[in-house]
């Protein structure tokens, strides 16, 4: 079932059309309202003294000089917050065994990463606060820093948390089938590689920012938030600050990118809320770029040992991985830092029918900035490991990389099915996506071009990936683990007296076009012009309860709630219209803001007239008719833990063997995200995702010294992908709607980031192969490629 076709096919339907973003004009004219734009009466500004050491004891903090500095309102140490903050622990019960010590907003007795906030200075303006920060004297007793995840568990490595017997945070083993027998059977080809994925971070255009107001007269707190999950923030602030949940209002206006970075609780943001409560006046904190690099969560940082066995006819018989990742000194609150490793174990090899799979995951603490969920959590690692091994195996047995995929991908008629790791799949199209990709990129011609180029001494490579993406998560993601994170979302659709629609939704807009697709679904399903739809998101006081926008869930879950609410409102309006017009409601419909005769299309009454009649001239209605021109519906995914999507991508690169530079010539993505609500927005989500994937594959890396200093914490030294280096990114779609909803939409936001690194890794190795070189380390920098080539 894919829902009644008439919703999507009627002439004025907006679903499936590249509708312009209603908010684009406002944003490009600089009239966006970001947190830092807020100027409140009596507002003061915070800055933080951060640890210069990766690991040290705090032996003394002297704030006297800072307190005497001009314009200073208050100086806070960690211990000053003890009466106001309930310590928080970043674990989830379904990640059994995951441990992490309680955290406080500021370091108290010890610092455990360079950049950890230690002292908060609040002043009349930010510059004065920074001046006073320089006057704070902290005595540290430096301790040996634990930086290398690979040695974190060795007996002679210092233990970061004295409450624990070692630096292990979590361990998980997946063991399906009989891996050992398959590897040892003698008639299979085994390939093994060690993959390294560097730490990187999601560089949001708008940095993290908080403005917090506290009103002691009614014990209410307003948190102006740049983030993705307002209701989650409401719940966790309530818990940590011991305020009634209903007394906390979270407002997220425009958000300049988030990518998962802003969905976690940061000590400095929490300290801003505590300071507002203590001082009874609004406090603003905006992270500067340097602070962002040392305090925004980092991601990836995995070392994966992988091996794969294939038969001579290309059948994968066994896959084994061993993932090691360091997460910094704590597991991040409230989503934990266990999810990425967990995803790697769940998703490696997930597109393929593999019976024998063993995956070990180990998470260790270390004295580096904290790691947590960033766009495409775990996916780039899982996809690069599986497809890196697969293409390596294909070359070992002399089989084309497309053909080996054909032989191993789940068949399109095999659903519902499950992977060896227990992932449940339905409505996927791996085989179709692969064939479409091959045709789309003109694979055969590229192979001929590659051969001809090699004759000229030019080394080009073609690399593919077949991938899955976790989207539309159910409560199985976080709720089951005890986190106050809603997996359902709601929408309220209201008809006003002028015939306009007002939609409020619990999903959030952080630049990807959420508000546009909400308007499209509401306008199309209900039957008004999209210009007459006003959308409200990002405010716990005015929107239904829900999870927000993350894990590629906005369109699929929030969109379905809008569809259900718009349908319900339509039924209500038709009921009233039937009464007013004294005809059977079944004979009526709504089109372009007018109630029409469903058969003839003849205009019966405009929504404006109907609204005015109901709201102003209720006396004209029968006394037993009490119209409700507002409807609220909620939706959650019930039958599956996640709604997986699939895609196939390919990269075409040219490696300069003298310089180690890689030019990306072209990139193709075939994506099946179910029903496409707005093709342009989906394409741009995928392109933006691919660009972040290119960042991970070639540019982005948080470089640390051996003693835990981040060495490139500036936009000059941390390389984000830039337009000049980006290839054309060609997108094609397959639409296999999910059966879990009427709308049929799955997520699309993370596919590019999840898949691109694998395709790029394979393409580079394809180019290097005639030079007898290979690389399994990202980012694939010129120096690393030169070393792989033996040139340096």
């Amino acid at each position: 079932m894919t829902g009644p076709t008439h919703i999507f096919d009627q002439p004025n339907a907006y679903i499936g059309r590249s509708v312009e973003r209603p908010d684009a004009q406002r944003l490009v004219q600089g009239r966006g309202q970001y947190v830092d734009d807020l100027q409140l009466p009596r507002m003061v500004h915070a800055a933080f003294v951060r640890s210069p050491y990766a690991h040290a004891k705090i032996t003394d903090i002297d704030t006297r000089a800072a307190e005497q500095a001009p314009g200073i309102i208050a100086v806070f140490r960690g211990s000053d917050f003890e009466d106001y903050v309930t310590p928080y622990v970043g674990t989830l019960t379904h990640l059994q065994g995951l441990r992490s010590p309680p955290q406080m907003p500021l370091a108290v007795d010890a610092v455990r990463w360079q950049g950890e906030p230690v002292v908060m200075v609040v002043a009349q303006n930010r510059a004065l606060a920074e001046d006073a920060c320089a006057l704070v004297e902290i005595e540290f007793e430096p301790l040996e820093a634990v930086c290398d995840a690979e040695t974190a568990l060795e007996p002679n490595t210092p233990i970061i948390h004295s409450a624990y017997d070692n630096n292990r945070a979590w361990e998980r083993l997946v063991d399906a089938g009989d891996v050992d027998t398959e590897f040892n059977r003698g008639d299979v080809t085994v390939v093994d590689h060690v993959f390294y994925f560097a730490r990187h971070t999601g560089v949001t255009l708008e940095a993290r920012a908080s403005v917090v107001e506290f009103n002691p007269s009614d014990n209410t707190l307003i948190y102006h938030y740049s983030g993705q999950a307002p209701h989650m923030m409401q719940a966790i602030l309530s818990k940590i600050l011991s305020l009634p949940e209903e007394n906390i209002r979270i407002i997220a206006r425009d958000v300049g990118g988030s990518f998962g970075i802003k969905i976690h609780l940061y000590g400095d943001d929490l300290a801003t809320a505590v300071a507002a409560r203590i001082l009874n006046r609004p406090v603003k904190y905006v992270a500067d770029r340097n602070e962002s690099f040392v305090s925004d969560i980092h991601a990836r940082d995995h070392r994966v040992k992988g091996r794969m066995a294939v038969t001579s006819d290309g059948k994968i018989t066994a896959l084994e991985i061993d993932d090691l990742t360091g997460i910094g000194p704590y597991s991040m609150y409230p989503r934990s830092s266990g999810i990425e490793c967990n995803q790697v174990l769940n998703l490696t090899g997930a597109p393929y029918a593999i019976d024998n799979y063993r995956a070990k995951g180990t998470i260790v603490f270390q004295n580096k900035n904290m790691m947590c969920q960033y766009r495409a959590v775990g996916h780039p690692i899982a996809m690069a490991v599986a497809d890196g091994l697969l293409e390596s195996a294909a070359h070992e047995i002399g089989m084309d990389v497309v053909e080996i995929r054909r032989r191993n991908l789940f068949k399109d008629n095999s659903y519902p099915t499950s992977s060896a790791a227990g992932m449940k799949f339905d409505d996927l199209s791996h085989q179709q996506a692969l064939e479409k990709l091959v045709e789309f990129m003109d694979y055969d011609s590229l192979r001929k071009d590659q051969e001809a180029a090699r004759q000229r001494g030019v080394y080009r490579g073609i690399g593919l990936v077949s991938m899955v993406e976790v989207t539309n998560p159910s409560p199985m993601f976080y709720g089951i683990g005890g986190a106050p994170i809603s997996a359902q979302d709601g929408a309220t659709v209201r008809l006003d007296a002028s015939g306009a629609l007002h939609v409020s939704s619990s999903i959030t807009e952080q630049g990807q076009g959420t508000n546009t697709i909400i308007a499209q679904v509401a306008a199309g399903v209900f039957g008004v012009n999209i210009d007459r739809v006003k959308v409200t998101t990002g405010d716990t006081a005015t929107t239904p309860y829900g999870g927000g926008t993350w894990a590629s869930r906005g369109a699929g879950i929030g969109g379905e709630a809008v569809l259900l609410a718009a349908n319900a409102l339509k039924e209500q309006v038709l009921d009233v219209a039937g009464t007013i017009l004294q005809c059977a409601r079944e004979s009526l419909s709504i089109d372009n803001g007018v109630v029409i005769d469903a058969q003839t299309g003849a205009e019966r009454i405009s929504l404006g007239e109907l609204g005015r009649l109901v709201y102003y001239r209720g006396n004209e209605l029968p006394s037993d008719v009490s119209p409700e021109l507002v409807a609220t519906r909620h939706y959650r995914v019930t039958d599956f833990p996640f709604v997986f999507t699939n895609g196939a991508m390919a990269a075409h690169v040219e490696v300069d063997q003298d310089t180690g530079f890689v030019k990306i010539l072209d990139f193709w993505a075939v994506e099946d995200c179910g029903r496409v609500i707005n093709p342009k927005l989906v394409d741009e989500q995928i392109r933006g995702g691919v660009v972040q994937g290119i960042g991970g594959a070639f540019y982005e890396e948080c470089v640390y010294s051996e003693d835990g200093q981040m060495l490139n914490a500036s936009m000059a030294d941390y390389l984000v992908p830039m337009a000049a280096e980006m290839p054309d990114i060609h997108i094609a779609h397959i639409e296999t709607p999910t059966k879990t909803s009427v709308l049929g939409a799955k997520g699309a936001g993370e596919a590019g980031t999840g898949g691109a690194p694998a395709a790029l890794l394979n393409a580079v190795n394809d180019a290097l192969r005639p030079l007898n070189a290979s690389i399994y380390q990202m980012p694939m920098t010129p120096q690393r490629i030169l070393k792989a080539l033996g040139a340096v």
Binding site: V703, S714, L719, A724, P782, Q783
Partner: protein
């Protein structure tokens, strides 16, 4: 981050600027285009007590053509150089290099004098001036002096400028028809500081006469390669013995690594950029 507190003066003529610079009672910095200094101040890595802003000194912004030379005022911005027909015609090496110097926004503000005075080892301008054997005129209240580029760049962010002195102008010999120039750099992203780069000028190439090779972004400062230059004298640019001599000089060169390339990678890439720049100069 916000800069630490500082006093600010914006003189509107050169003499007034020099008077300010002669003060010995405070730690001062000179603001030209600000593309390096402002970030340093915002990071509080630079905390001058007094900032002397030269952007009001219009007499330092000019491109002047003389019979044998082009003289460029210190406050002339990269964007002005890129747009200048005089530069296009008479300083072709600048034309080759300018698109590689950062991005438009930076080129709109950054100045030739600021970059020269900063002497960032990764910047293009010092190497360009070395290859062109430019003459740098510096001034103070005590008067002016001329310093050949070869004597100007002393080390890491270190120049021959003395307290109270600023660069007034830079003079470059006009290119003659038989002159040849080469420029090549390898930057991870367009507009970034290079992993390695080279600027080359030659009076003629058939045979090679008076070749000047200046490497940048490989060490503490931009460096000429005197042995290589000599080896090519009287030979052709594709002479393998001369190239081997150049590589020999690179083998002994003190390369200093950075985040993107260690010393060995710098050495390897220096060979590559030198080879490629010479190739572009071949007839």
């Amino acid at each position: 981050m916000k800069a630490a507190d500082f006093a600010y003066e914006k003189p509107d003529n050169l003499n007034a600027a020099l008077e300010l610079l002669a003060r010995e009672d405070c730690d001062m910095q000179v603001l030209a285009g600000g593309q390096s200094l402002m970030p340093m101040m915002n990071f509080r890595l630079a905390q001058p007590e007094l900032l002397v802003d030269l952007n009001g000194v219009s007499e330092l912004s000019f491109i002047e053509e003389q019979p044998e030379t082009i003289t460029i005022g210190a406050m002339t911005r990269y964007a002005n150089l890129a747009a200048s027909d005089v530069i296009k015609e008479h300083v072709p090496l600048f034309q080759m290099a300018l698109p590689h110097i950062a991005h438009s926004a930076v080129r709109n503000r950054g100045t030739i004098g600021g970059s020269t005075a900063l002497a960032d080892p990764a910047a293009e301008m010092p190497a360009l001036l070395l290859a062109l054997e430019a003459t740098i005129t510096v001034v103070s209240v005590g008067g002016a002096r001329e310093i050949p580029a070869n004597d100007f760049f002393l080390g890491l962010y270190e120049t021959a400028l003395q307290d109270g002195e600023i660069i007034k102008s830079i003079a470059i010999k006009k290119a003659k028809p038989q002159n040849r120039f080469g420029f090549y750099e390898l930057a991870r992203r367009h507009g970034d500081y290079a992993m390695a780069g080279v600027a080359i000028a030659s009076t003629s190439i058939d045979p090679v006469c008076d070749l000047r090779i200046a490497l940048f972004s490989v060490s503490d400062k931009a460096h000429r390669l005197p042995h290589a230059e000599l080896a090519f004298e009287g030979e052709n640019l594709d002479d393998t013995e001369a190239r081997d001599a150049a590589f020999q000089e690179l083998d002994d060169f003190d390369f200093r690594g950075d985040l993107n390339a260690d010393g060995d990678t710098k050495r390897h890439l220096a060979r590559v950029v030198l080879t490629r720049a010479l190739e572009t100069m071949m007839p």
